[in-house]
Amino acid sequence: MTTKPIITMTNIHKSFSSVHVLKGVTFDLVPGEIHALMGENGAGKSTMMKILSGIYTKDKGEITYKGEQVEFKGPKQAEEAGITVIHQELNIIPNLTVAENFFLGKEKTIGRSGIMKNKEMNEEAKAWLMELGIQLDPQKPAAECSVGQQQMIEIARAVSTNSEVLIMDEPTAALTSKEIDVLFNVIDGLRRKNVAIVYISHRMEEIFKMCDRITVLRDGASIGTREIKKTSFQEVVKMMVGRDLGEQFPERTNNPGKIRMSVEGLSTKTGVQNASFTLKHGEILGVAGLMGAGRTELMRAIFGADKNTSGTITLDGKALEARHPQKAIEAGLAFVTEDRKGEGLILNQTVRENLATSQLKRLSKWSILNRKKEQQSASELIERLRIKTSSMEQPAKSLSGGNQQKIVIGKWLATEPKVLILDEPTRGVDVGAKKEIYQIMNELTKKDVSIIMVSSELPEILGMSDRVLVMHEGTVSAIIDRTDATQERIMTAATGGE
């Protein structure tokens, strides 16, 4: 790679109040490369990209863009200069059409009248999407588009404004494997058109498949940049955590016991059809399937979060009539939801308060909360799960993704559940915290807790499960023993094949 860099960031520093987040980061990007940016949560990736795109201003350091020193004042300026960010949470307005979203803020109008030229905009949006190889009706409401399609609208929008630098933050986090293939095709095309792409992701496989170079950040400093062809998984992980992690998945040594819970003929209005399975003492049951196969819906139904379900659930020989989460909790169930910001945490509340939400009854007498017990429980959980927080009075939103996830898990461990349902427990969590979560799962099963783990990451399913339940279009399409489970068998069952 001998081309001149389009961007160089040298010795960038940034502090928020008293916290030194970036301590001299150095980074460069050349046209026509996909440059991966990796690091544990809180390593400073987002802050660095926010400085590059003008959302934050740096305290110290130098940024050169196309040979000139720049300092963008706001994302709009950066975008005009040709730097676009595709955020993890997409900037799509669901009630507007594809074309309206595409042209948002720069609508084509007749003169300066404010009257929009809809026909022209529809055609042009369609053409830009075709350029990426995407066929999408420009008049379709964005709400009816899949997440992948919505992302394509944003990418097409960036391309149409002649963006020369594209920053993508966890672009595949919410995509199905098919959509990921489409996305890779598109960014590969952009690379050939000499666009420079920064690719932020936790998914090692993707990075080694797609990227040309990788820069690793740790604790606000750049640890190093490698060419993908000349590095390995192990080296990158070591750079990220600063030590050897060993095996990604801890060994499962526990032997599941007798049947603890059985679900029979469970159907819901949300799309689950006639699901039946059993769960043993101390077992980890992995639940695999494509997005929209009904995995989360099945979990919500078991937990009593959605009404109008039919079928029976037996737990320890007793019928479980979970018409409300509270009943399910009393029976010994716990549910770590997939969307921790939307469903798991109360972001404005403190770590202590969040850890108490699931156990208010146990922490109170005659409805009066016992502050001491609450604090005691919080400090125990913080220690047990090694939650990194400066104090239990920190708002949950100030913690990194991995630590937030630990709060959600901790809040449920406090209820001493018999059955723990984990829905995508390691999504958006860095490798270090991932391994800690796996270890916690192992410890729990040794204490006879049964775990249902929904996951879209097949290595995780294969690495951690004693048995794998596969869902396809709302039904249970296969239940496979650990010893017989392979990626191929799971994917076949997940796609409805024989």
């Binding site: 109040s17 937990f303 979060a305 409300h324 989460p325 509270q326 399910a328 909790i329 549910f335 939801t337 939307g342 469903e343 798991g344 945490l345 109360i346 972001l347 404005n348 509340q349 308060e353 108490a356 939400t357 699931s358 208010l360 009854k361 109170s364 409805s367 009066i368 909360l369 502050r371 009075e393 809040k411």
Partner: protein
């Protein structure tokens, strides 16, 4: 960090002190004990309603029907008394009716899944209409001159007007509920993230119905105090009271999106409105200008709050 947080939270309190100092300088009779007690008594009605609304707003809801509940509860209590029912029983009956009206609001919002703004906009009209039907549009007079009923609006305890005592007692109880009980924690949690609260096993619907019930009861309590002071129940009593009450909650720093705020702020907010009304009256500012000033203060307070948050 924590200290600046408290300093920010106390912003409305400093605002109140500032307004008090300015008014004391501009109008010498303002800072006399009599006038202060007078202000507190005037404030008590708005404060009681605003206390209830604080709970509702903390859950992310709103209740526009407070003024109408005040009127209907007061009219029914007055009606019960004129028909010969013992005043204390009539008052308890009135409070229960208030609770029922509030619970009805809560049921429409939770079980009917109607947005709180719309639900209480409808019941505001319904309860007001029922008041007019019941009173035939005329005030109910000739009320009991029993000690207990007269005491509620006009009495004194150790030189302090009884409504003021009621207000402070209500404040203490409600502060305790909000701060120290699982119900109070639930109120904050629901406002912070309703789905997360539901999945954590909180009885979201029950808690929501609870806050509307509480607001209904407090509104009728305010109505009974008003009735006792005026010695009559007016069919149009409480019209537009929801505006002053919401203003008090917002002035006190409670977020209209729910999850953040405190009841002490609401007390301060109600006092700011009361002090302004009284001070401007003493200075002979026309009631037309008073509205302009009041609105201006609310706007200023909210803008300052935004600045701090940014």
């Amino acid at each position: 960090m924590k200290n600046t947080g408290l300093f920010q939270k106390l912003g409305p309190f400093f605002g109140l002190i500032l307004i008090t100092i300015v008014l004391s300088i501009l109008s010498p009779s303002f800072f006399e004990l009599n006038n202060i007690l007078n202000i507190l008594r005037q404030v008590s009605i708005n404060a009681l309603i605003a206390f209830g609304l604080t709970f509702v707003i903390l859950t992310g809801g709103i209740d526009l029907s407070v003024g109408s509940m005040l009127a209907l509860g007061a009219a029914l209590t007055a009606g019960a008394m004129t028909s010969g029912i013992d005043p204390i029983i009539a008052i308890l009956l009135g409070l229960m009716i208030g609770a029922a009206m509030g619970a009805f609001n809560g049921l429409i919002i939770t079980k009917g899944k109607v947005a709180p703004f719309i639900a209480t906009l409808a019941t505001m009209t319904i309860y007001r209409g029922l008041t007019l039907v019941y009173t035939d549009g005329r005030p109910i007079t000739g009320l009991s001159d029993s000690f207990s009923f007269q005491m509620i609006g006009k009495g004194y305890v150790l030189g302090i007007p009884f409504p003021v005592v009621t207000m402070f007692l209500a404040f203490l109880v409600l502060w305790f509920i909000l701060k120290k009980t699982t119900f109070g924690r639930g109120v904050y949690s629901i406002g912070g993230n309703e789905e997360a609260s539901h999945l954590a096993g909180l009885r979201v619907d029950r808690i929501k119905i609870g806050v509307y019930t509480l607001t209904g009861m407090l509104s009728v309590l305010a109505g009974i105090i008003l009735t006792s002071r005026l010695n009559s129940a007016q069919p149009t009593a409480g019209t537009a009271y929801e505006l002053d009450a919401i203003a008090a909650v917002v002035l006190g720093g409670t977020s209209l999106t729910g999850g953040r705020g405190w009841i002490f702020g609401t007390l301060i907010g109600a006092l700011i409105i009361g002090v302004l009304n009284n001070g401007l009256n003493l200075m002979n500012v026309s009631s037309f200008y008073q509205q302009v000033v009041k609105g201006g203060v609310i706007l200023l307070a909210v803008l300052l709050d935004r600045k701090k948050a940014a």
